[in-house]
């Protein structure tokens, strides 16, 4: 599903840079990308979302070389992935319902389909009763659930999450990761960058450890602890 070959990302101050990354993810996997801040986790996630191009190397997603996507192909590519950010990125002036519906409007879904699927997605993330609230009336965890609903609404086969629990307390974080796991069990591949040690240890999923822009370990059912410094 994802295949990175000899990916390099050079930054002037080397923070977040990547050096010769070779890494692949199969359909249906749940992968944690861990490492200290500045190790390149975020860069890796954003490269998969084609937010920018690597300095060199090949990145194939769904069998397609995304470093060679044309400008007008990028939106179509993004429709097949769901994105979750650390800072939620919700529209404050719109209701929870509208925030989720927005992602469907943008890709030209019919109003009927929107009316059918948005409540389903809100139900799925446990916010069925809060459709009419505005984001600032919700807790951080609830806001991140809205983002999750938005990320899955167009039924992507891949979700990338960049520190989705970075702004949340441990208990709330666990709820979010459980939800991601539920989405994963239903067939969506999930890649999540994090430095929440407890969660990673507990989930027993594949763990890729980045250190100074290099992959230093990649284990199935791995943990964080024995790599932490």
């Amino acid at each position: 599903m994802i295949d990175m070959q000899h990916v390099n990302m050079v930054y002037p101050n080397s923070v977040g840079a990547l050096k010769d990354i070779n890494f692949s993810v199969e359909r249906g996997e749940f992968v944690f990308i861990v490492g200290s801040s500045g190790a390149g986790k975020s860069t890796l996630i954003r490269l998969i979302g084609r937010e920018f191009l690597p300095t060199s190397g090949s990145i194939r997603v769904f069998g397609k070389e995304i470093t060679r996507l044309r400008r007008r192909e990028i939106p179509l590519f993004r429709r097949s992935i769901g994105v979750v950010f650390q800072d939620f990125r919700l529209l404050e002036k719109r209701t929870v319902y509208d925030n989720v519906a927005f992602a469907m409007q943008v890709v030209g879904a019919s109003p009927r389909e929107i009316r059918r699927r948005v409540p389903e997605a809100l139900e799925m993330v446990g916010l069925a009763g809060k459709a009419k609230r505005k984001p600032d009336e919700l807790s951080g965890g609830e806001q991140q659930r809205v983002c999750l609903a938005r990320a899955i609404i167009n039924q992507p086969s891949l979700i990338i999450a960049d520190e989705p629990t970075g702004n949340l307390d441990p208990q709330t974080s666990l709820g979010i990761v459980d939800l991601l796991k539920t989405i994963n069990i239903r067939g969506t591949t999930v890649i999540m960058a994090t430095h929440a040690k407890d969660i990673v240890d507990r989930m027993k999923q594949r763990v890729v450890v980045l250190e100074n822009g290099k992959i230093v370990s990649d284990e199935q059912k791995g943990g964080y602890s024995h790599h932490a410094h």
């Binding site: 429709r79 992602a103 890709v107």
Partner: protein, 294 residues
């Protein structure tokens, strides 16, 4: 493009105009003022053109003939002149006609010349060219023909007039171009502020897979609406004002041949609308470029 998308674009555009009420008002005001000045200047230019054209059309060459020319020689000369390609019309004015004309203009000042042999004037041709700008060249050619005593066309006045109208036209064009550019710049900046306010929204749209045109349309429509309103207001103002000016001029400065309102106002309204809409749409596009790079 899907119809429900078009509905969405218009709804978003209207929502943004209302939400950024003051900014929208400022954009419209900027376009209104600019196009009002532009429109006034266009009307002024059209009228200056019309008046100078009127004056130019009245300019003619007067050729005074040698006194001893016989009737057949005069006719030959007339034929030679009319055959010049630039010449439109040749009128023969005998010295008796010239005297009569002079007397009707000046009255008693020239009384007493009626008697035979006391007419100091000469027979002449009054020549009009097809286009006024040919006058100096034709005059020069005429001077070389035999039997012509003097060629007169008010050299200085005509050349100054031509230079003046040429300058007015160029200054006007430059001025109008400058104003249109200023309006474009101002509306681009104003829309940039509304785009700025929605930078986050645009980023989210990009992340959920909106195409660039899907993101652009609401802003372009917003710009076009603002530019259109900003053009309609000065068009209405000019409609009213120009009618008033023409009516006033007819009474007080009846000799000034202003262009009648019905001949110019429709085309100026169309032109202003076109400029307003173009400026609005283009301004939006320009101010958006930066935000689409995600």
């Amino acid at each position: 493009m899907l119809i429900r998308n078009i509905a969405y674009f218009f709804k978003e555009a209207m929502r943004s105009i209302v939400r950024n009420g003051w900014m929208s008002f400022a954009s419209v005001a900027v376009v209104t003022v600019t196009l009002l000045i532009l429109g006034s200047f266009m009307l002024l230019n059209i009228n200056v053109e019309q008046i100078t054209q009127e004056i130019k059309d009245q300019v003619e060459i007067v050729v005074y003939l040698d006194e001893e020319l016989a009737g057949s020689e005069v006719e030959q000369l007339r034929v030679a002149v009319i055959q010049l390609p630039q010449v439109e019309e040749v009128r023969y004015v005998s010295k008796e006609q010239a005297l009569a004309r002079l007397q009707s203009q000046l009255g008693e000042l020239v009384a007493g010349y009626e008697e035979e042999g006391r007419n100091p004037l000469r027979d002449s041709f009054e020549i009009r060219t097809k286009i006024p700008e040919d006058i100096p060249a034709v005059a020069q050619t005429l001077q070389t023909l035999p039997g012509i005593a003097r060629v007169d066309y008010g050299t200085d006045v005509v050349e100054k007039l031509f230079r003046f109208t040429g300058a007015v036209r160029w200054v006007g064009l430059a001025f109008m171009g400058g104003l249109a550019f200023t309006a474009l710049f101002l509306i681009a900046n104003t829309i940039k502020l509304t785009v700025n306010a929605r930078a986050k929204e645009i980023m989210i749209m990009k992340w959920v897979g909106a195409t660039e045109w899907f993101i652009r349309w609401p802003f372009v429509i917003e710009g076009v609406l603002l530019g259109g309103i900003g053009a309609l207001l000065p068009a209405l103002a000019l409609f009213y004002l120009y009618h008033e000016v023409v009516a006033w001029t007819k009474v007080n400065l009846f000799f000034l041949p202003l262009v009648p309102p019905q001949m110019v106002l429709v085309s100026i309204t169309k032109l202003l609308l076109l400029i307003g809409i173009t400026i609005g749409g283009l301004g939006s596009l320009l101010s958006m470029r930066r935000f689409l790079k995600v």
